[in-house]
Amino acid sequence: MDNRQKEIDNLKDYKYGFSTDIENTRAPKGLNEDVIKFISDIKKEPQWMLDFRLKAFERFKQLKEPNWQKPKYPKIDYQDLYYYSAPKSMDDKPKSLDELDPKLLETYKKLGIPLQEQARLNGIAVDAVFDSVSVATTFKEELTKQGIIFCPISEAIQKHPDLVKKYLGSVIPTTDHFFATLNSAVFTDGSFVYIPEGVKCPMELSTYFRINATETGQFERTLIIADKGSYVSYLEGCTAPMRDENQLHAANVELIALDDAEIKYSTVQNWYPGDKDGKGGIYNFVTKRGLCKGKNSKISWTQVETGSAITWKYPSCILKGDNSVGEFYSIAITNNHQKADTGTKMIHLGKNTKSKIISKGISAGYSDMMYRGLVDISSKAENSRNFTQCDSLLMGNKCGAHTIPYIKNKNLKSNIEHEATTSKISDEQLYYCNQRGLNQEEAISLIVNGFCKEVLQQLPMEFAVEAQKLVSISLEGSVG
């Protein structure tokens, strides 16, 4: 019993909450042209990249911070943030892992992401991003043999400028909304993936984002291009130390699938959610958009969102190519004082396009959960179809769950289906499980995992088990 209690207590703590004591190179505090030039300069970017950033910054200055979302937050002082912070040891880029600061290796080991050759995760290539810089990418050589490019975006800007120039900002333009435009001006690092024509990527590609520095915003930028007939499965994971301050993570992720290509993008988001009274935690304001550019292309988003003080994101698909397919599978969990306003947008432009939305929202404690989704079938998207299912599960009586679907169908030959349910874990169900020998935590875990099953099944095998555990842990102690 003692041991079990200890185990539970261990799990209840946010086990990624430690911070790494490391010397940083930082940009001067604040947001201005000089800071943007500093970032561009330290990354040794070409002029066109700096121009891209400055153009975005010009636009940003004219934009107003949106305020239509359900979760409100105290005003962010954008001049009081650091926009670049990286371990000093990364100033002279280490050429191999042997040269990498042992403190960084240790950090990733502690996070369960060993980077060293002998300990690497089987069949998964990892790009490790620490604050504003990518510190290591594994399995690079093996992938290069097949013509696959998997590297930090800052490296791609230098080595593959044509691809970056052609596609960066092609799905999320620099003139997009407030946070996306801010990202375009100040983004620091993230991953770049290019899968050549006809290649099925032989392993999972994965990026692990870690926020470490204080008073720093993380502006991740990821760009994935799947050329004709190619396939890639990509997964991102995120953690951050426990801090009293709220930290901003405003990422832009762009996916492009050409003819007959498929991109499967999975997220396991476990940023620090704040303490049980709602102090601290990450503001996760992220723009993720996929463009099914070619015919018969497919983009599938799967997300397990358990962390962050506020999650505000709508991973979307623009179904431009005829017969293209967009999917969105989501589990979002809020506990204590966490808040989420999340969902998707499916924009049908091509003929015979199909989209599917499966959203599972779970709220516990004093938290608040919103599903917000748009399905838009344009007048030219004949024979298109959408199926949406939104299920909410409530635990306790102090939390909230809301569903707002926006549905626009401008084509009579197309149709949209929407189903929604709201349920509660009943005391009777828990009693039934208890009587069969399951304790409270095991019972909740079983019921919740049953509720989320359809989405968990979409995750790559290696991560499904991890995600299942995460789902249970996030709800520890939520039913008294």
Binding site: Q435, R436, C452
Partner: protein, 244 residues
């Protein structure tokens, strides 16, 4: 095995059990009969550890104070309740539920947990014994099950968990004659010198298949008469109303 002394139970200020005494020895089958509202389900809820009751008196199970134990701890000790209304749990596969259950109990007892293969073997054997359609096991727990299927599922769980004390709360209600036979066979196959049963029912019908060692009449929160199987027959003839 089980000793209940002067058990009183209240829920929301309403007194339901008013001083109940009962002793069950290993290997015995006891039936409790009584009209609606006499406290039959309350008794099974209190023994299995449902929360929300104000309980007085003493209940010991194998020398241990049962009332101090959590619901799941009682299950670990070998107490099983076949629910009158088995709960639906959407999304949870019946097989998964059964495996989680048996392994939770094994883990608590410090026994080795079953791996997927061992579990499959056990479940195949038990469903064959009970003529239980295995296809049902891949469906979501009790979701869309007919009344009979739900009850049979309870008996299958009982037979897999092999409890020391099985409490059947009106398992026979709403069953057709075939299902009734299967339920009874399930009970009879588990009967041995160590396992005991407490069968709660309205009707004598079930007792024709499961011959109890003792029959008790529960009325207004107390056992007013105890006897052997003959008592059940007498009850059926006279009815609860006139039975004193």
């Amino acid at each position: 095995m089980l000793a209940i002394e002067n058990l009183k139970a209240k829920i929301e200020d309403k007194e339901i059990l008013k001083g109940l005494n009962l002793n069950i020895k290993p290997g015995e089958v006891h039936a409790i009969m009584g009209p609606n509202g006499s406290g039959k389900s309350t008794l099974s809820n209190i023994l299995s550890g449902k929360k929300g009751y104000e309980v007085k008196g003493s209940v010991t199970f194998e020398g241990e104070n049962l009332l101090d134990l959590e619901t799941e701890e009682r299950a670990h000790k070998g107490i099983f309740l076949a629910f009158q209304y088995p709960l639906e749990i959407p999304g949870v596969n019946t097989n998964t539920f059964l495996k989680t259950s048996i392994n939770a109990i094994k883990k608590a007892r410090g026994e080795k947990e079953l791996d997927a293969l061992e579990f499959l073997k056990l479940i195949k054997q038990k469903s064959a014994e009970l003529k239980f359609d295995e296809k049902i096991l891949s469906r979501q727990l009790n979701v869309g099950f007919s009344g009979g299927e739900k009850k049979k599922n309870e008996i299958l769980q009982m037979s897999i968990l092999n409890p020391k004390l099985s409490i059947l709360d009106e398992t026979d209600s709403g069953l057709d004659i075939d299902a009734l036979r299967i339920v009874s066979e399930g009970v009879n196959s588990l009967r041995n010198k160590d396992n005991s049963f407490l069968i709660i029912t309205h009707y004598q019908r079930l007792l024709d298949y499961i011959k109890p060692d003792f029959v008790h009449v529960l009325k207004d929160g107390q056992i007013i008469k105890s006897g052997n199987f003959e008592l059940a027959k007498e009850l059926e003839k006279v009815g609860y109303e006139d039975f004193n």
